[in-house]
Amino acid sequence: MKDSIFQVIENRALTPNIFKMRLCGDVSEVGQPGQFINIKLDGCYLRRPLSVYDADPISVTVIYKVVGRGTEIMSRLKNGTMLSVMTGLGNGFDIMAAGERPLLIGGGAGVPPLYLLAKKLVERCSKVSVVLGFNTITDVFCEEEFKRLGCEVTVTTADGSYGVKGFVTDALPEGYTYFYTCGPEAMLKAVFDSTGTSGQFSFEERMGCGFGACMGCSCKTVSGYKRICKEGPVLKKEEITWEG
């Protein structure tokens, strides 16, 4: 965990309401795929948590959907803006469990953390399959990026305007050894019910601090309460109870 100043060096729209922002600064704590960063914005009291989409030795990149005041402010940030950013938050995905043919399942604003994960997995697995779900064709993003990593990519849209018509669970491939998923809670539940193997789920929860201090993000698991910001956001399938 580290709190330091980052500079916006890229911030542009991928779709009408999905933006990609690259931040330059001390990335020494940006580690595991599935971890997140927490950004302080002028005009918002609490920080905004966003998953790491990609990282390199000088920068970290996030992809975010504009859903409210904070992300709206974010979408208007200009290159050069300095932001206080906390890095190295959360547990992240455990890539050791992947097996030979992992499957990555992302929905909407849940797609971003799967990219850095895929990047790590393609190095160690024989085949990485990715299923990305969106509402409609204009919402689709990142398909090419996953393909360029060498993943086998299936896109679904709820209205059938692009790719397979339906939900991610309508397009799960056969033969995967393990899965990783991130997306809206309804999708996570459907994935939970539709998958045959074990896997890992990345959850979202409203956060006070994002680093384990306030108990704002606690969530029930079979092994007691866990803080989504600290023992999460990634939970193993076996740990999950859906009672809240």
């Binding site: 965990m1 709190d3 302080k40 918002c44 009291y45 609490l46 920080r47 206080s84 906390m86 929860e205 409203r206 956060m207 006070g208 601090c209 680093f211 384990g212 201090a213 306030c214 108990m215 704002g216 993000c217 606690s218 969530c219 029930k220 309460y225 600290k230 809240g244």
Partner: protein, 305 residues
């Protein structure tokens, strides 16, 4: 004694800055950011006799200058705190810590306090009386002078360490509650706890918090907190620990002028984990700016005179 040091119920603090309960866990999350021995001390997460899982999520909501929380006193219970949290804390904090205690009956408070009273690491018991009084029909202990004084008297009988009673601001007359606690033997008063508030999500058209209401804290409550600290400090003869929205060294000084002997910093820690350390580091320069030699000299400086 240094320029910053103050004495709280017989124990000297290197400086008056105390991280507030519920915003500093049991300390070690912050020890990953800095050496927390720079603090005056901190008040650990509200602890109860039994383990509590707290409320369903969402438990936090944002406000223009502050937040709502409805954690619901999640904590592992006093036995685990003594067995696990305190030993772990010992490795990163060598000062006396403030033990924040909650309960739902007088027996509850007495039990938890007497267990913590025996712990060498504990310097003060901070008894949070903003919880519903289960025996008294759900009414909050801290909103009734009689119920408040009963808790205080019972706890005082059971412990040896100083008892600081933490008051709820959600009352018509804070002074009557504080005076009742003083009369019942309290060694200090701390205030304010959070103020009941609500936010509604325009998209879902439902309250943001699963619990609907939550406690409002942060800079937005500061003027209310200063007023209550002033009112209470003007009346009681025991030390007052002030808090509510404190976010910078100037706020600490304002609270002390209002009558606080020490000042807690809560929500600010959540947004900036270095908040307490920064405030402590800034204090000497701000004192110079306002011609303040020693912090102890300004306690209650705005009262009368």
């Amino acid at each position: 004694m240094g320029r910053l040091s103050v004495r709280l119920c017989g124990i000297e603090l290197d400086n008056p800055v105390i991280a507030a309960s519920g915003t500093f866990g049991y300390g070690y999350e912050f020890a990953e950011f800095y050496d927390i021995n720079c603090l005056g001390t901190f008040s650990f997460k509200g602890t109860t006799g039994e383990a509590r899982f707290g409320n369903p999520t969402p438990r936090v909501a944002e406000c223009a200058t502050g937040m709502l929380n409805a954690i619901g006193l999640q904590n592992p219970g006093v036995e685990k705190v003594v067995a696990e949290e305190l030993p772990r804390l010992k490795r990163c904090f060598r000062k006396p810590v403030m033990a924040n205690v909650s309960g739902f009956s007088i027996g509850d408070y007495v039990y938890t306090c007497s267990v913590l009273d025996k712990e060498e690491q504990v310097g003060w018991l901070e008894v949070n009386i903003s919880c519903p009084n289960v025996e008294g029909g759900g009414m909050v202990f801290g909103t009734d002078p009689k119920a408040a004084s009963e808790v205080v008297a019972a706890v005082k009988k059971a412990v040896t360490k100083p008892v600081i009673v933490k008051l709820s601001p959600n009352v018509t007359d804070i002074v009557s509650i504080a005076s009742a606690c003083e009369a019942a033997g309290a060694d200090g008063i701390s205030l304010i706890n959070t103020i009941p508030g609500m936010r509604i999500d325009l998209k879902t058209k439902r309250p943001v918090l699963a619990n609907r209401m939550g406690g409002y804290s942060g800079p937005g409550v500061f003027p209310i907190a200063v007023r209550m600290v002033y009112q209470v400090a003007s009346t009681v003869n025991i030390p007052v620990v002030g808090m509510g929205g404190v976010s910078c060294a100037e706020d600490v000084i304002e609270m002390m002028l209002a009558g606080a002997t020490a000042v807690q910093v809560g929500t600010a820690n959540l947004v900036d984990p270095f908040a307490c350390r920064n405030i402590i580091n800034e204090l000497p320069a701000v004192m110079d700016k306002y011609g303040i030699d020693r912090l102890e000299d300004i306690i209650g400086g705005a009262i009368n005179g």
